[in-house]
Each structure stands twice: as C-alpha cells, then as structure tokens.
Subunit: 398 residues, 2 copies
C-alpha cells in the first residue's frame, strides 16, 4: 500500500493528530527501496510489514440483523491473517438470524481454512463473565449485556485482549464491497506501521459515499460527520487558540486502535462512542485537565486519519438514524469538561436547527463506561474459556 | 487469493471450457501448505505466484470520455507489478480530454514510482506503424485507426506484444470501485496460474451488479449477457448433442488472454468483440471445422470463468448502448459457420422481440479483423519506438 506522507500535524499536550493521508495505490507490489526523493511525499508500506501487523490485529464485525449476503461479502474481504471476531446482536426469535450468521461464517471458515469467533451479545455466559470479572457496567437490569453497538464493541475489545492481540479494528457488516473492507484492514495496518507510539488510533475517511438520486452522486461529506467534525474542531481551536480543521473523522465507525490505548479510555454508549473516543483522548492526554500519569502520556498518543481509495457504499439507515447519531455524538462533546461556552453554543445551534432538541433543552448526556483496564481480565478469560468451543468456528466435525 | 476448484468442464475438440469458479477470499495470506482435504474443493493461489504473473501481464484500460475521477480510481486499483497501457479515444477538441487523462496518469506514475503508456487511438504515428507493418485493416479512410473499443483493444494487444509481455488483461475505465479493479487483476493472474495451456483466456463473471431504483437491487444477470450466453450455449449444445449451460461470460468486457492465444484469433469490431473471441476459439480449435494445425491445437485452449467477490458498479450507458451490444454480439454468433438453423432461429427470435431487427431482416454482420500474427511486429515496433518518449509516463523532468 502506498500512502501520502502526513503534511500537517496538530499537537495538543501528548496527543498528536495527523491530518488526512490519502491512499495512492492499493497494491504497491514487491518490496523495493524507495528512492529518496519519493520518500518526502509518499510512504510505501511493504506487504510483509502489513501481514505481520494483521496477524496481531483482530477485526471485529458488529452485526445486527444485516442481510446475510452482505455479511458474507464483508468477511470474504478481511485479509486472511486477521483473526475475525463477530459480535452479533441479531434477532433469535422466529427466524434465528444469529444462526444464519453463524452458519455463513462457519462455511466461510471451512472453505478458507480460517478460524473465527462469533458471540451473541445476549449470551448468558458472557454476562456472567463480565459480572464476575468486575465489570458489571455493561449489564442491563435483566442481567444481560445492554443493547447497542458500543456495548458490543467493548465486549469484542475484551475478547481481543483475551486472545492476546495487539490491535483491534472495526468494520461494519453492511458494506456492499468486499474490496472496500479489504482496504480498511490494509489502512489500519498501514496506520500502525507508520506511527511510532504504542498508543495509536487509526480512523478512516471515506473517499466518497455514493448517493442514488437520479443517477449516482458522489458525496464527500455526510451532514452528521460534517457537524460533528465542526464541533470537535471548535473545541480544539478554543483550547489551542488557533483555529483548526484537523479532525475529519470524528464520526468514523471504521477505526482501529492498539489494545494498549483501548484499555485506557472511557467509552460512551450508542452512537456517541466514536466522537467520545477522541474526547476521552483529549481529556486524558491533552494536557489541559490535570495530567494522567500513565505510560500513554509518556509515549504520547497518535491519531492517524486515512482516506481510502474506495468509496463507501453501504445500506441506508434513514434520517431518524442520522438524527440519533447527531444528537448523541454532539452530547459527548457538550458534556466534556473541555467544552467551553463557545463550542456549547455551536452545538446547541446545530441541534436546535435540526430540531433534535427543543429551544430550551440541552442534549442528552451519553452513558459513560469506565476504562476496560478495570476488569480482571484473567477472571473474564477463565469463564469465557469454558464456553470457547461454542464460540469458535469452524465447528469441529464429529 | 482463494478460488473454488472448477467442478464441471466442457471439452469441445481441443477447447476446454471450465465452469464458473467463485472467489472465496480476496486475500489468502502468506504462503502455507494447504491440507490435502481442502485442495479438493479450493485452490489457493499464492501471492508470489500472482506477482510473478502480474509482472508479465499488461493491463489495458480503454477509455473514451469517461470521467477523469473514475479513471483515476481505476488506475489506483491496478496492482503495482502490472504495466499499464491506456488506449484513449477521447475528444481532443475544445476541452482536451486526452490531455486530462494523460496528466492524471502522469501524476499517478510520479507519486507511485510506476511506468505507463498512454496512446491516443487517432495518433498518426500509430496509424503509420500499422500501415507499414502490413496490418492496414484497422485503418479508416482518413488514414487513422477506426473508431471503436475493439479497435483500441487490438492496438493495445500489439503494444503488449511489442513490450514482450506474456499476458494482456482488459479493465474498463468507468468502474466506481478501485477495489473491484484490483480483484479483476488478481483473478486474471489466478486464472493463468490455475490453467496449464499457454493458450488461455480468463473471463470475469460479476458477482452482482447493483441497480438503483428505489433502493439498491443486486442483479445477477444483465439482459444482454443472458441472451448472448443463451445463444452461445445453444450453438455449443447443437454441436455436442448434449444441452449445455457452460458459457456464463459470453459478453465479458473484463477478460484476459495469453498473448500466444491473442495473436492467433480473428477479432470482430465493436461490441461483437467479446462473444466473437469465443466463436473464433471454437471455430479454430473446436474440431468441428477443418482443424487448424497450429501449436495451440496441440496444447489445447483453456477458458476459465471466474466469479468475483465484488459487485460490478459502473456508469450506466442506457438502453441504446445495450441494444447495440445485443445485435452486434448476436451477429457474431449468427454468421459463424458453426451456427446451425436452430441457433439462428433463437437469435432471430430474440432480436425481433427486442425490435433490434425488422421481421424479415437479418442482423448486421460484424467486421472481422485478421489475426494479429499477420503483422510484422518488428517493423511495427521500430516505428513506434521512435515516438515512445511521447507515450511513456512519467514524463521526464527537464
């Protein structure tokens, strides 16, 4: 893979945010020395470097009632070296969607010689393991894991830690193009190869997003992403005193982290999870609030934003979905202690204009989960291990 | 890349046609021995094998006034090892589209350290080279190369021969997904890796083709492809006496050949070119007409049909384009000496139903070009070499 060198970097305390780097070439061929003059503008990440990282990078596919055909395509695009974790919250009544997903994944593993894990979010053993390992925050009143994609993400990060992986990357199950999925995984690995800190996050910016209304129109920015980026940038600008447009992936569902970073951060529930990650990083390592004396602060936290070559073409979820994303995402920013009066005004303006909150109302505050490092990972692993054979694919033949 | 083993093969004289083989996994990781039981159903084509073939495989992108943004995406998806040949027939008056394409390609080559050729179909030196090397068939009355994608394909095959490449693969310039382009090239190389004969053709079957009408619908078969496949299969069934459905890629624009095979075949002009390739192979090596005593007949000709994982998402050209494709494609079958009365009836029925020909009319006969081996390749190369610096990119800095 060949990627632009980052030409602009924002430094806030121990946090380094790189401006968007574009993918120039999907497949940059065999290892060869780059001539010096090329290196100034371009980074080539060799296949072997990527594959070494892929082996240590769990790819998590959160799924909830997505079409099984789409799911099948998505998993076929994940590079062979990456272990796959599917975290499903699909319906099991009447038609057992979870079973369909499990069978599809099993068939795929069977024919490709791969191994994967698939776990249902409402699995009782999972809830028990969380409870006993001292992380009951994720559980609802019925004793099962709460609803929500964020909750599924947290569970899958714990599983990746339990598998002793070094990185975790998220890819949605509703993507129409296996080739785009493949590129996301390559971008994650390339991002980790380019950054130096063991506390790194890679966030994806889609090249375009095709919209279908009388022919195809390639939109660069979704409305929700635009507003969330604007508000995050307003927060950063107010703190540094220099107007900044550095954040272009505030709402990126497609993103990856080193597990060292993943275990340090508090997470928001629901659609607030992706912007909250950035907020958490800025709160903990931005040097504005009382500093966190962890190793992460010493090493510094790096954020990489990579623009894919492939457009992002996925299932449309409708405006209600978008409005939910907007108000929860902005809520995460609004309630941060970093958020000043100026930024709060911008957020309220946006939300009122979209009629997402009333004239005198404030946005809802997203639920916050404590950092995953609070869990007794060994205890969690012990309980999960007992049931591992029912999560692992391919199924063993009798 | 991991691909299904072909489970059904049709043998007609020295021609072997394999049934469709599906891609199972885009990226099958590092080289590892396949366990024996897996080998029965699946073929894994190792990266190094693919890359060795890519180096010898010119990828030809025929282009005519396609959007430059799309073209830019397409070339970014072509694997680094493949030499690129762009054969443009774009407008040069008022806005010089050819120059835009050339500049885009030049920038791409500059930043990725690649080399490419771009030639305009109406280039006078090209016409002169064809004339003097004894292949004037491609020239129109104005002394330039004729209009048409097929004509551009013929020129680019000659250039690939001149570059001493072993394979040539075609990829259209109107594809929305660089990741799909990447997969086509991998499929071509995998096809050549799987077949044994030096006279091989690889044809692509798209997994799906998204249609936009109130949401997205994934169509498996286009109407034109369906009819052309039906008529080709009718022709084969009549000759073998066993009803066959083997041909599923009769109209595949995305296809590749060994240049050894490419130089032997007569080609049709216009949209008839792809079905005619199959007709030419059956006529020459099918053992029905008086046999051709070439090496190809001795080695046997293999046709591989590969179904991609990615959908094919490209610019819509409208029904007139489709009707043109249908009547020219069927014309190629209709006028073959292999085509019996039964198949002719089927063809006329289809064409009349579509109102592509009148009730008493027959389809137009496509123009046929003689095999490329008739050209004096050395002479052609000599003349082209004189102008090579103006075709080669990146441009040299002064």
């Amino acid at each position: 893979m060949r990627i632009e060198t980052s030409r602009n970097t924002e430094r806030i305390g121990s946090v380094t945010i790189n401006d968007v780097q574009k993918v120039l070439e999907l497949d940059s061929g065999r290892a060869k020395e780059l001539p010096v003059e090329e290196k100034i503008a371009v980074q080539k990440i060799e296949q072997d470097v990527i594959k070494d990282i892929e082996k240590k990078m769990a790819i998590v596919v959160p799924i909830k009632d997505e079409k099984v055909k789409l799911f099948e395509g998505v998993i076929s695009g994940i590079p062979h070296e990456c272990p796959i974790i599917v975290l499903s919250n699909s319906r099991r009544r009447r038609v057992d969607h979870f079973k369909m997903e499990r069978d599809t994944l099993n068939q795929f593993c069977h024919f490709t010689g791969r191994q994967a894990l698939i776990i249902h979010q409402k699995d009782p053993s999972l809830a028990q393991a969380l409870e006993e390992a001292g992380y009951p925050d994720l559980l609802a009143e019925d004793g099962r894991v709460r609803e929500g994609k964020a909750e599924g993400m947290l569970v899958s990060m714990l599983i990746a830690m339990m598998m002793k992986k070094q990185y975790v990357g998220f890819i949605d199950a509703d993507n129409y193009f296996p080739g785009a999925v493949w590129e996301y995984a390559k971008c994650y690995a390339s991002g980790f190869a380019m950054t130096k800190s063991p506390y790194t996050m890679v966030r994806i910016l889609w090249h375009y997003k095709p919209k279908m209304s009388r022919g195809v129109y390639f939109k660069k920015w979704g409305r929700v992403s635009q507003v969330i980026n604007k508000c995050l940038n307003s927060l950063i600008s107010a703190k540094t005193g220099f107007e900044s447009e550095i954040i272009k992936t505030g709402n990126a569902g497609e993103h990856a982290m080193t597990l060292k970073l993943a275990r340090e951060l508090p997470y928001a529930s629901g659609y607030a999870v992706e912007p909250q990650e950035l907020i958490s990083i800025l709160e903990m390592y931005g040097g504005i609030l009382p500093p966190d004396r962890t190793k992460a602060a010493k090493h510094g936290v790096e954020i990489c934003q990579i623009e894919t070559r492939n457009p992002h073409f996925h299932e449309e979820k409708g405006w209600r979905h978008r409005q939910g994303m907007l108000s929860l995402g902005l809520g995460a920013i609004y309630y941060s202690p970093l958020c000043g009066g100026e930024t709060k005004k911008v957020i309220l303006g946006e939300l009122r204009q979209q009629e997402a909150v009333g004239q005198e109302e404030e946005p809802a505050q997203p639920r916050l989960y404590p950092p995953l490092k609070q869990i007794d990972l060994q205890k969690f692993a012990e309980i999960m291990q007992e049931h591992m054979s029912s999560y692992s694919l391919p199924e063993e033949k009798e």
